[in-house]
Each structure stands twice: as C-alpha cells, then as structure tokens.
Symmetry: C2
Subunit: 304 residues, 2 copies
Amino acid sequence: MRKPLPLRKGDVIAIVAPAGPVDSRKLTRGIARLSAAGFVPEIAEGVLEREGFLAGGDAHRAEQLSWALALPEARAVMAARGGYGTTRIMPLINWRKAARRPRLVVGYSDVTAILAYVSTRLRLSAIHGPMAAADLAGKTDGAALAAFSRLAGGEVSTGEPWGAPCERLRGGAAEGILTGGCLSVLTALLGTPFEPDFRGALLFLEDVSEPSYRLDRMLTQWIQSGRLGRITGILAGKMSPVAGEAEEDLRKAFAAAGRRLSVPVWYGFPAGHGGPNYALPFGVRAKIDGRGRLFLLESPVEAR
Amino acid sequence: MRKPLPLRKGDVIAIVAPAGPVDSRKLTRGIARLSAAGFVPEIAEGVLEREGFLAGGDAHRAEQLSWALALPEARAVMAARGGYGTTRIMPLINWRKAARRPRLVVGYSDVTAILAYVSTRLRLSAIHGPMAAADLAGKTDGAALAAFSRLAGGEVSTGEPWGAPCERLRGGAAEGILTGGCLSVLTALLGTPFEPDFRGALLFLEDVSEPSYRLDRMLTQWIQSGRLGRITGILAGKMSPVAGEAEEDLRKAFAAAGRRLSVPVWYGFPAGHGGPNYALPFGVRAKIDGRGRLFLLESPVEAR
C-alpha cells in the first residue's frame, strides 16, 4: 500500500469538479470552512462550468483532476461535489502516473469511483470524506470536520474508536481492508476496467434515494458476480429511507446480503449521504469489534 | 437458434410470477383479455403470494417458473408482471433442461433478465411482450394484442413494417439479432453468469423512471465494459421522462452512446414501459431501414 504524505494545517488542498455542476455559493461556503480549519484551498480553473448534468465536458473535468493530481504543492485533492460524471472520466486519467506521486484523494458519492479504484487496484490509500460544495456547505458538523483533519494529518491512534458505534445486524467482529463507498456508483464499475477488487475488504456501503429493492438488486448482482466471495464483513453507512419505506427495509437488504455471504454486517456508521459524514480511510486495515466500534489499524498517510 | 412451436388460438399459456407481488384484480383483467383473444391461461400455484417487494420467496418463484417451463401442454410462459426479483431466481432454474424443450417466454421490464439471457446465451428465441397483470390489464391496446398473437403464431411476414416507425437519432439502416430490454435490468446482469452476449445485436433498450444521468451511467458502464463493441445498432423504445426532464434528455443519452460506439440509433419504438407495448421477437434477425421502419426477418417460432 502506498500512502500520501499527511495533510497538515497550512497545506494546499486542490478543489476539482469531476462530476455534477457546482453551485458557486455552496463552494464559497465550503472553501471558507476549509480555510477556517487552516487549509489552503486552490480551485481548479473552470470548476463552475456546466454542461447539462455535468460540470463541463469529459475532457474539461478530466483535465482538472489531472492538474490537481500533478500539482506540486497540493497535499490533497478534494472533489467539490458528486452527482454524476466521475465514471465517464476514469479512462481519461493517467492513473499510473498519479500513483507514482501519491496524493490524498478526498470525496464520496460519485467520487467513490476514484476512491474504490485507487484504494484496491492502485493500492493507494484515499479518504472517503467531505466535499467542498456538498456536505462542507451543509451537514458536516465541527466534530466531523475535526475528525477529517486528524485522519488526513495522520493523528488517529489505533486504539481510538472512530465515528460512532454501529448496530449489529449479523455476526460479530470483523477485520479487513476498509474500502467501498456509494453502492450504486460501485455497481456502475462492475465489468469495467475500473472495477474495484474487494478481496479481503471490510466493505463500507451506503447510498441515497435508492429503494430497498434496488439495494437488493445491486447486492444480488455483486454476489452473483462472485466478486464478494472474499470480503470479511459489511459496514453499512447510516442511510435515509425513500418515501414509503422505513430504515428497517434498508437494514433488511444489507442483512440478507450478509447471510448469503456468511459475513458479519453492521449498520449505521455516520459517513456518506445519511450522517454528518465522518471521514473513513480507504485502502488501510480496520477492525469493527463485537460492540460495533470501528478501529483504524493503520493511518492512510505516511508518518511525516 | 432454437425456436419454440407457434402459439395458436386454443393453446395454453402458463402464467407465473417471477418478480414483484401480483395484484389479483389486474391479473383477472389480463386473464380475461387473453381468454377473449382465444388463449387458455393456466395460472401457477401461489401466483398471488407476497413477501415484501417479492411475489413470495425465491424458491417459490423459481418453482413456478420451472413448473411452467416443463408443463407439457404450455405453448408459452407469460410473466404476470415485472417489478423486481427475476435476477434473484436465475441461478435456481435448470436452464439447460429448459432449452431442451423450448417454450416461448413472454414478458418485459424485470423479465428482461430471462429474455436477454435465453435469447443470447441459450440461443433460444423469446418474446419481449405483454404481461397478464401489467400492460394487459391496462395500456396494451387491441392492435398491440393482435400483433402479439400474430407474432407468437408465426404469422408475420418479413416484408411487413412492424410496430410504428422510429425517429432517427444517428446514422441509418441497421440489421442484427434483435435482443435487449429494460436497460437497468440488463445492467444488473453485467458481471454475473447471466450476463447477455450482445455481439451482433440490434440492441433494443428502454426503461422507466430513470433520469437521463442514470441512463448515461448505465450506457457508460456497458461501453466501458467493452461488451457493446460489436452491436449493429441501438433501437430505443418510446420512453417517458422523469419529472423535471424532457424526452429530449433521454434521446440525448442514447444518441451519445451511439456516437461513442459508431452505430445507428433510432428512438421511439412503442414497446416496453412507454408505449402500447408492441411485441418484439428476441434472438432473431431484424432490420431497421433508413426510414426507421422495423422488419422482422425471421419468425421467433417454428413453422407448424
């Protein structure tokens, strides 16, 4: 596993728009929060472009990401927001080049495509965490932002329970390489050259606006593909049910997948769309104990 | 290509529920229409069972389908409705056994999983067409029902334009093996043992309740997978846009896919969720001419 250098106060974070069009007021708000937290946001040119449901054409969005991944002073690359469009630009990035100079990629939702790919195929750690014009402009609270700073700075000890305890749906403790992300985005990588490799994974999964039958359909697809045969457990994020359903319906879908795979399932980690979005390191070892507490056994960044 | 015997007036159609729970009043209505059209519907035991979003457990739904596929007097097997659940039972069916005694499978939407698999992997023709407790209880008009009867009966000539002319989105005429179905269901087969083989396909695609970014995401996944590299064209069904979008947004997604694949794209065939649901034969050669007229070059059933 290759790890980027730690992100400390005073370091530059490059902000890019690989997916949906960015709201400028939200971006301003998120940038102010990052600045207040001591970071130096540097915004990609044309970050506010808009072309239908995309933040500009594929080449334009890919260029922003390539710029950020090569920017000498950038210690981290944070997406402004998700939406849709990241899978479209995956083939346009020189990933081998990016892996030679590891940078901490940060985001969630549609940006899952990058995080899952780099953390399992390039064996490069990444952070499932806040985005400038998304949760940083809204639901991310002070504690979650502070947690991100500590995690990206390499300041979290292995004995510290992370986030908030989860609810047991099936089985007990589990340990593996933490990775995963937004289930519908992960599923959109199946069969492509950017499909993640979940062997040995403690699989974090979450989603938004998906009725339980769709969660079940996606989990069924992954199970039938044989590609979850060696995961060590499922850690589902806190999620909001769609209209007409209860959170219990979501729990059922994850529990059923755990039964079919004979692995432990825990629900409710406050990351992704449904909670304050506590940052999670992808590509490093983590453990969930028999009481549902998550421990990060490795830092996602090098010791400075 | 193996073809079932033709379905004629007086023949038995076995009705099964492989997916979502069936509404008994709708089923009654559809059965009455099939009977009035001269067929003899024979309903699987427990067709009205219900377990959450499924028409009973996986074993129960698989058993209905297995029963129907083996029923000596059944000339066709029609799904009562779609919804979700067909992909879950695909591994529970003895498909090799089913292929030895070909039966005309009829349905659309979630039942796409069966149609695309049998028409491309088992090389067994099938009919993308009406379902008893779905469109036959509603939008299917007399002309569409009569078209189904003629198609299943082997009475359509190769010189007869089928359905209604389509709108050109890109390129011109195309000829290939007609197959495909509901895009989100097809996409849920990617990477599984039931993934269809689209080499040489004139690909019919349609969907419902999917915003254009999701259509684009699914088409991007298929394109990145390399599995559409040898299709001969795209024939998109008539679709209804979601709230906040126009039909033009849907057209754009299909046109963009055609550009990326360098194949002709036609839009608006009245089959699937968006039109009166004209039956389409899957697994047989068809041609769309330069004026958007579809010609069925082969019958889906044997000559009697």
